[in-house]
Symmetry: C2
Subunit: 278 residues, 2 copies
């Protein structure tokens, strides 16, 4: 596949680093280049292994563009001091996104520490408010990712597209938007209405794909390769396209069995299924 | 606890049979009587082991009232013939509910068999429509239970209280309503608004409690005992009370570790936590 000029859907393919979790940033970037995959979605811990300036050079040298940086967020915490540390970490994430050359920082907003989900939701809004000025100055957009409600207890109190859009509405659309990840939203009776709304409000900053396999093998590491599950991928992609999003589409698959396969096999399968199913 | 007169909250306690899954109907009914628990929520397979008439006698003799029967539903299927068989099974479930002396049949509506969640939702509506006349004639109410969205792929395409209420709205409130189960709805940003709506529309037929533990040990059998997790149980119970529901409150906990404990320990703990946390 190397050397083939991506066009149409293929020109939008991005592989999120979590899909080949065992690979370093250099390995995934070189892999994308070998497989004709134009974008990559790096994670911060992998960027930090080489440092943001080296990561930027490595991406530029390979001709693979970053579609986002994963991830900021995780705002709720029991004390004001800890919440300030979380905000400071988000300011660094904004810097890292700008340094590697992406203007999209994905936010996984964080869970409630105890029995107060509304309080945690207020802390998320306050945390984003505290990061917005820095993000605007750096030209980085904060992409709120609603997570599947099964993660409400340990990853994010933001669990629907409607909730993410309501939250984003408090901030300028130039700086704050949402991620539409099919794995997190496919079950929602309101998903198509909310995708249309997200487009109308100018808030779609990223689109992520994978699949929901039955029965799900694991809470966290049980996502499926596109085509192996129940999600109406093409219908959702068409809705996101119709809502005006024309950017990269990230394949993000947390799956233990996939991680045990050679990365080059995973990238080849990812590209094939992406073109066939998304 | 035997002999103590239940009053106030204690007078509303029901133990769903799934909480002591290894016990037969007789064992759970006798256990409830021993522990001063006035209601029980039987499952059909346990009723069928003795037959509905014997189950009714067994309940009456013990002075323990059935708060509901679990469960009907499971409507979507690929062929018309199979969907008719599912409806017929629901007609039998209605008969069984009436025969054991409860007017609440819980519906777990069923998953989509493939990549067409909206089609499955239509099959659910058609299935309920086909059961309503028989239920009305038998004086049994159909209680649509929205399940947590993590079960959209293998148990129910009805996943929010709003969706369940929209579905119920197509039928008379004398015959069709909803179950509010905290485990399935606690994460929903709209939950309090929808509980208020459910009360206003006269649709709350049952209220189930358990807890959401972190991290969740299992998709299906990982529910927590009240007080062990994150759910704001008293706040939700107060909302359901304020919405006008004054009926039994069923404790339904699918949990492998709990099932390995002696049933009498489980009932004692259930009653204690129910009074302390709900």
């Amino acid at each position: 596949m190397a050397g083939s000029a991506p066009d149409g859907l293929a020109a939008r393919l991005s592989v999120n680093q979590a899909t080949v979790d065992r690979w370093s940033l250099r390995e995934v970037v070189d892999g994308c280049a070998r497989h004709g995959i134009p974008f990559v979605g790096p994670w911060r811990h992998r960027v930090q292994e080489v440092g943001a300036p080296a990561a930027a050079r490595l991406l530029a040298d390979a001709g693979v563009a970053p579609s986002s940086l994963c991830r900021g967020g995780w705002f709720p915490a029991p004390t004001g001091a800890e919440r300030r540390r979380r905000v400071e970490d988000n300011l660094r994430a904004v810097e890292e996104a700008a340094a590697i050359g992406t203007d999209v920082l994905v936010l996984v907003c964080g869970p409630a520490g105890g029995r107060d989900i509304d309080g945690a939701r207020r802390m998320v809004a306050e945390g984003i408010a505290a990061v917005v000025p820095h993000a605007a100055a750096a030209g980085v957009r904060l992409a709120i990712e609603p997570l599947h409600p099964m993660f409400a207890g340990d990853r994010s109190v933001v669990v629907t597209l409607a909730e993410a859009l309501d939250l984003a509405a408090g901030f300028p659309s130039e700086t704050v938007g949402v991620v539409v990840d099919v794995y997190h939203v496919w079950w929602d009776p309101a998903v198509y209405a909310q995708i249309e709304r997200a487009g109308r409000e100018g808030r779609i900053l990223a689109f992520h794909v994978s699949d929901w396999i039955v029965p799900p093998p694991d809470f966290v590491r049980g996502r499926g390769m596109m085509g192996d599950g129940l999600i109406e991928l093409r219908r959702l992609r068409s809705a996101v396209d119709a809502a005006g999003y024309a950017g990269p589409i990230e394949v993000e698959i947390f799956n233990e069995a996939l991680w045990e396969r050679p990365g080059d096999q995973v990238l080849a399968l990812t590209r094939e299924r992406f073109l066939a199913c998304v």
